[in-house]
Symmetry: C2
Subunit: 306 residues, 2 copies
């Protein structure tokens, strides 16, 4: 089905295991959306342009007057990605004008730029992709300060202060959950999916109040199953809750005093929201796609937020 509007630019969130792209009109309308499994982990640097054309080639005019801007955030800018976009150092705005890394392409209809990630020197930390969502969040917040919690494989906790990222911290809770649930002895007691909110909240409370109990509590999931039998869905939520509780204990000074904006997949944000609420916080779940697109639009237009 032909679109009425012509593609004015293309937004891409290019992660480790997947890429997602949107065709946008001149007025910002989303004309098309697609995703593929062509993430960084399966692509050599020469394979990015073909992967982009496969996913978004149909959106390109045959002979545009000017090349179509393609603005990319995420792991495509890593050293092992398409082309390295060197980190910018906090404190700084999440995205900055002129900071995008231009990438030459064989297809002359494209004008590709990759948004650089952010790094923190002390303590050392890095992000790629989240800075773009933060730009979208900061645009909506204006000069209000806030804490962003961005759950995922590597959850980022970010302090936004008058539009600048002033500090952040990564907890690899999502990746820990995955390897523990699928690669350790606990896999025999944990369901592949499903959730039990009561088990989740109880477990969050345990490691949030007593983070030192984590080391012993993990094997307890398996032992409880062997000794008395247990519900594998509740076990799955218990593992998730123990790890989220440990993360909330590690980040308590960030979320105790400010509003937490949750940015990420809905199911995961919901688990964090339950945990934070049970600890007396009042988090807000944001629309992650909206923030990503807003951030990429700001990067396209060279948007310093303040």
């Amino acid at each position: 089905m032909a679109t009425q509007q012509q593609t004015a630019w293309i937004a891409v969130d290019w992660g480790t295991s997947a890429m997602r792209a949107w065709a946008l009109g001149a007025d910002g309308d989303i004309l098309a959306h697609a995703r593929s499994a062509d993430g960084m982990s399966v692509l050599g640097s020469e394979e990015y342009e073909p992967a982009l054309i496969r996913l978004a080639g149909a959106w390109l005019p045959e002979m545009p007057a000017e090349p179509i801007p393609v603005v990319i955030c995420g792991m495509a800018g890593a050293r092992q990605g398409w082309r390295e976009a060197p980190y910018r150092t906090v404190p700084c705005a999440p995205v900055d004008s002129g900071a995008g890394m231009a990438v030459p392409t064989a297809d002359r209809r494209l004008a590709v730029r990759i948004v650089p990630g952010l790094r923190q020197l002390d303590p050392p930390d890095v992000m790629r992709g989240e800075e773009t969502q933060l730009a979208g969040l900061a645009a909506g917040l204006g000069t209000t300060s806030a804490i962003a919690c961005m759950p995922g494989t590597h959850c980022k906790w970010v302090r936004l202060d008058k539009g600048l990222v002033t500090a952040f911290r990564t907890c690899m809770t999502g990746e820990l959950f995955d390897v523990i649930a699928t690669r350790t002895v606990l896999r025999h007691s944990i369901a592949d999916e499903g959730a039990d909110d009561t088990a989740l909240m109880q477990a969050v409370g345990e490691t949030l109040a007593n983070p030192q109990r984590l080391a012993g509590a993990l094997f307890g999931i398996r032992a409880a199953d062997i000794v008395t039998g247990s519900d594998p869905r509740a076990a799955r939520s218990r593992l998730s809750g123990l790890l989220i509780g440990a993360e909330l204990a590690a980040t308590r000074q960030l979320w105790e005093s400010e509003t937490v904006h949750l940015v990420g997949l809905n199911t995961v944000c919901r688990a964090y929201a339950l945990g934070l609420e049970s600890a007396g916080s009042n988090p807000v779940i944001e629309d992650v796609d909206k923030l990503t697109l807003a951030g990429l639009a700001l990067a396209k237009d060279g948007g310093r937020i303040v």
Copy 2:
């Protein structure tokens, strides 16, 4: 080379990934020792007897007057092992007379018995194999109370009180180390081997004093490498130290007041000893093979320790 003495009995430590066997003479001398990779994880229940004959068949007399006792501890007694030897429930002696599970064999020269593991009802916990080493340890300690720390894939912390196991707790630190070091993003920054004692002890101190920092400190190993570069051997020791420190924080009430007897592989026991010493404890490293053989001998003779 023919042995002068004839095999009086065979001791077997049959784990998840390997089996180890010893031929013993009537006076307790070790006549032969062998190991293979025929662990529980690769054997169906029908394959245990052939695996035993492959490893130890040459030690058997052709026509013994009585069947040769083969006393086995470890995962061969798990439900998914050779034959399930149901757990005994603590508090109890580590091994008990008549509690071994007799296993019929096709080869009539064998009289196989499997030592049962132990379980704790509240909080739920289980062990298989360590009870035999504990029997050896308890035999040496007599009525002295002590704490055993048994590092490995799943580290067991055990309270021995006048020869009885009264309580224990499992921390899956070894397995966590393996999956984090080899299956997460940290693998890019962690050496396959090597150690740095300074990095280890510093990391132990960090999570022992502040266990809530673990969740943030783990990704910090990767971030430090990206931001400033880091020594992969020191990173390996740092990961080990962070996890051991978290375990020591979880078990502090056990080791603060009593002598800790370390039972396990030497390299791993050494890391725990460094951590415990830096926290003011004064642990003793035991000879694990000696304890295993002493425990299996007690199981053979039906040895209640007290």
